[in-house]
Subunit: 202 residues, 2 copies
DNA sequence: TAGATTGTTAATCGATTAACAATC
DNA sequence: TAGATTGTTAATCGATTAACAATC
């Protein structure tokens, strides 16, 4: 069950609409969003129709209305928590990444097994992995990031699922085995670079 | 021009095949790769056929042969260089990321405009952005990672294109404007998390 | 009104899946 | 040989694109 293209496009539109809002615009047209987002205007109207976002014939769409609807679709009214497994380079970068809070997403905690890392002070509490069930329960966490070494990734993945995690963003370069009910999104750094290199040669 | 699914699947197969090799296997079947990679065996045979990877009826595929062919497709015989724009959290994480060299990919240099960051010692040389054309020329760089703040991303993107970059991995949360000839892959951290959250609620 | 824009329905396209002949 | 597996061709499916009626 991958993240649908439709959902990703909605979030692309949001980026454009926020830009338009900064321009001081109040309304816009499917064609205008299309030019900014690189999506065809027909596709945009179809997506909007699917999610019951209504426009005005000739008058276009009210920017605040679309944004409100998108925020509603993504339940931005409540804070969503996620956890980070592994405090290596990537885990550390994510902890310092600004912009989660702007979208009402918060890190409930980060987890490692190295006592040195657990002791270090960060913007977010670092726990031993044994603490995971407790934190998941406390913050009703459904989403996790796997940023542990490849060798440990599958084991951590099983542990996450046991703890009730249903969505995983995976930075490790392995193919995780998960039940169908769990949604995995792989951040494939090496494959993306190799793909770009491939296209640059062809 | 996005990275094709076919190309990404090939790299998925590689992960599986390298695992099989560690098991000591010499041959395998489309069905076996399928079970490991989560891709259907028909799809795998079709992909192999497309890239002229041949098997033996009843005997399956020779693992080393497929790996050699994949390495040939991705030109792993030569070292491919890329540059990193921006030495924030993500730029720093990438510099310390192990595994690029294993795939014969190297960071030609990282670039920033902050003199403090340029002076700091890392595993990779850090240059002022003015040095970009020189390094691109020296290492024949075609690929860049954008890891600068959102506000600077578009400008850096134009600069990269001027310097001859044709493939971009973009970590900034904006939609880059590029000519069709340039291949952009967006690492959408926030949209992925929001997508996972959406699916966990639906 | 005439022109512009939405929103829906139909057509197209490409990618995936199924089927099966070839053959080891 | 019989059974298993490849490799290709045909069928299906879903997503995108085109067309156009509705209407402001």
């Amino acid at each position: 069950m991958p993240i649908s293209e439709e959902i990703r496009r909605l979030l692309r539109y949001r980026i454009c609409l926020e830009k338009f809002k900064r321009f001081g615009w109040e309304t816009t047209f499917s064609y205008t969003i299309g030019k900014e987002s690189g999506v065809s205007s027909e596709q945009i109207r179809k997506d909007f129709s699917q999610f019951k976002i209504e426009g005005h014939k000739k008058g276009g769409y009210n920017i605040n209305e679309i944004l409100a609807k998108i925020n509603q679709i993504f339940r931005k009214d409540i804070t969503n928590y996620f956890v980070i497994m592994g405090m290596g380079n990537i885990g550390e970068a994510l902890i310092n990444y600004p912009g989660f809070e702007k979208h009402n997403i918060k890190i409930a905690g980060a987890f490692d097994i190295d006592p040195v890392k657990i002791k270090k002070k960060y913007r977010v509490p670092i726990y031993h992995m044994d603490m995971l069930p407790e934190i998941v329960k406390k913050y009703k966490v459904k989403i996790a990031v796997i940023a542990v070494p490849a060798i440990a990734a599958q084991e951590v993945c099983y542990y996450l699922i046991d703890c009730g995690i249903v969505g995983i963003m995976n930075f490790s370069p392995i193919i995780l085995k998960t039940p169908d009910s769990v949604n995995v999104y792989n951040i494939e750094l090496i494959p993306v670079l190799e793909g770009l290199i491939y296209h640059s040669n062809n």
